[in-house]
Symmetry: C2
Subunit: 136 residues, 2 copies
């Protein structure tokens, strides 16, 4: 049970954007350098963050990426959901595909509680706090 490499790097990239001065656009090359990754992998992640409307992409000579909204309104959970899909510890939790044994299974309540505990921590952690911690 772990986050994907895409989500791990996505959080670093979003944090780098949050650390940029307001109005600044950060190029994919700079993002790749800051996250110690390749331009190709960084570009793919940025495309997904743009599609999720967490990031805006500007083309052209002074192009680059910037956050689509303020860092204090973006949580770690928002980023994970954008890149790994809705967090779903097991098939039976709310948002999952469901399980035919759910009606008689006592375990589903535990999975739901575990998921609630996890999403509470991730949802409460805003990107501005991560940036202030010097995340890279």
């Amino acid at each position: 049970m772990h986050i994907t490499r895409t989500a791990d790097y996505g959080v670093r990239l979003m944090t780098r954007l949050a650390m940029a001065a307001p109005g600044t656009r950060v190029t994919v090359a700079e993002l790749a350098r800051a996250s110690h990754s390749t331009i190709a992998f960084t570009g793919k992640i940025m495309q997904r963050l743009v599609a999720a409307r967490l990031v805006i992409s500007h083309r052209g000579f002074e192009g680059g990426f910037e956050l689509a909204r303020s860092a204090d309104s973006i949580s770690l959970l928002d980023i994970l959901t954008a890149l790994d899909g809705t967090l779903c510890l097991n098939q039976c939790v709310p948002g999952g595909p469901g399980c035919e044994q759910a009606a008689t299974c006592g375990t589903k309540a535990v999975w739901a509680r575990a998921q609630d505990a996890l999403t509470a921590v991730l949802g409460a952690e805003s990107l501005d706090k991560l940036a202030a911690s010097g995340a890279s």
Copy 2:
């Protein structure tokens, strides 16, 4: 981020064993039936639970499986760890393979907190409670 199908069924199988009368041995066929799975898949999971010393296997005419210790001393986290390995939300958390950027990365503290929240719920849920909930 989700548990494996093996762990999902493993929890059901352990719960079925916890629901058996003390001293009773449950056959792989009965376990497969109770968990709505195949005998082959059930057998593989049981082998891993035996290897993790959570279950004892008895051979012969009156053979079958039983819990290796009392259900109140086995947690959901014990079962997940036996089947999915040590819970490790990201590479940088304690027990993970590590990350070369850990020294300067502010995100690792958040992953550690999220993992702590998750393991607290899973570690506090004992198998006897699951069995009392009628889990199957």
